[in-house]
């Protein structure tokens, strides 16, 4: 009897690993930027390109940086969630309009509502590279010291807001 036990145990361990692996999302690559200062940038504002927006100006505030684009399909799913979050006035949301045409971006906000305090235009996607953006949407939680504390890959959902983002924001704001 014993001679069958060990192969069976080995097989079950393998099945366990494979089962867990099935549930993982290979597109979620942990960001090396978590716990590091948010890369500095200065970009023209979407609605008023004459004005600039710098990440450095946000020191002292806990804020969300949401990377979005008018051509992004998942952003459509995320947008109402962000609009609702903005109405609650818990945390300021700033947008990074990634590789988008200015008119398209503004048209999108006109139609879907604008949850952003303001959006910065990253037409070339250079700031996106600095932030390690590899898909849109992505959302960064940045603390008062300007350190990235969390990155949500893919659309923000009511569930991820309740379980991760909002508790973290409250904790960071209390500091």
């Amino acid at each position: 009897m014993m001679r069958f036990i060990w192969p069976l145990v080995a097989f079950l361990v393998l099945v366990g690993f494979l089962y867990v692996g099935l549930g993982l999302n290979p597109h979620e690559v942990p960001s090396p930027l978590i716990g590091k200062p948010a890369p500095a940038f200065t970009l023209p504002q979407l609605h008023d390109p004459a004005k600039q927006f710098s990440a450095q100006d946000m020191k002292g505030k806990v804020w969300l940086l949401n990377v979005w684009s008018s051509w992004c399909v998942s952003c459509r799913e995320e947008h109402p969630v962000l609009v609702e979050l903005a109405q609650q006035n818990v945390v300021p949301i700033y947008g990074l309009d990634y590789k988008d045409k200015r008119e398209d971006g503004m048209g999108w906000l006109e139609r879907g509502g604008n949850p952003y305090v303001l959006s910065a235009s990253d037409t070339e996607g250079r700031v996106g590279i600095d932030y390690g953006v590899y898909g849109v949407p992505e959302t960064y939680v940045i603390d008062k010291q300007g350190v990235i504390q969390y990155k949500e890959i893919g659309p923000v959902t009511p569930q991820s807001l309740q379980t991760k983002i909002l508790p973290l924001v409250a904790q960071l704001q209390a500091k």
Partner: protein
């Protein structure tokens, strides 16, 4: 809130969407009478150039269009742009990018991926090469942004120890197990013991065999 709202641009498409595969198919299958069945280009804009001209011109023009359609070069026009003016830079970029993973299509290297991000990153790598950065600095640039995941050859770190040495450990464990099992089996297998008569008979049989051969 300091949002500045600018009136909507009526010509802006409401939500840009990808072309559905079915649309591509209809275009390819030539159901649309304006479409050249050979390469799928819309001819309608070309042919009116011949309106009022001789049929010779029309033939020449159609021939020219056909020629364009058949030229494979045009199919790669998008990529051709990618090949920089400087072949040395390009070669180094490709050599580097072949060992880097594209984050969008994760089974493709940065060198072969058609994802837009891969294109941007190749551009970035080219610029870094032109700036005189060495391979290590360029790799470092990408790793600080995207993590070790971009490296096809992960570095040896505390959390990659199992990845690097796990197979060797398994091999050693398996080998030790096999050795142990074989030794146990050899020790437990009883030495064949023969009674003196049986031994004599065996010897007789063997000798008999020998005699026959002689």
């Amino acid at each position: 809130m300091n949002n500045i709202f600018i009136p909507d641009n009526p010509s802006a498409p409401s939500f840009p969407r990808r072309r559905e595969s079915s649309e591509i198919n209809t275009r390819r299958s030539g159901q649309d009478p304006n479409v050249d069945p050979l390469c799928g280009n819309y001819l309608i804009n070309w042919i009116p150039a011949c309106a009022g001209m001789t049929s010779f011109c029309s033939n020449v023009l159609s021939g020219f269009i056909l020629f364009l359609c058949l030229m494979p070069v045009f199919a790669f026009a998008g990529e051709a742009k990618d090949i920089a003016e400087d072949p040395v830079v390009e070669k180094r970029m490709v050599a580097l990018a072949e060992n880097l993973r594209c984050l969008v299509c994760q089974n493709e290297s940065l060198a072969s991926s058609h994802a837009e991000l891969a294109e941007d990153l190749r551009k970035e790598v080219r610029e870094m090469i032109k700036k005189g950065m060495d391979d290590k600095q360029i790799t470092e640039f990408l790793v600080t942004r995207y993590g070790d995941f971009v490296l096809y050859k992960p570095p040896v770190k505390s959390y990659t120890v199992l990845l690097w040495f796990g197979p060797f450990a398994l091999f050693l464990i398996g080998g030790a197990g096999l050795f142990y099992q074989l030794r146990k089996r050899r020790l437990s297998a009883p030495e064949a013991e023969l009674t003196p008569e049986a031994e004599q008979r065996a010897a007789a049989l063997l000798n008999e065999d020998k005699d026959k051969q002689e």
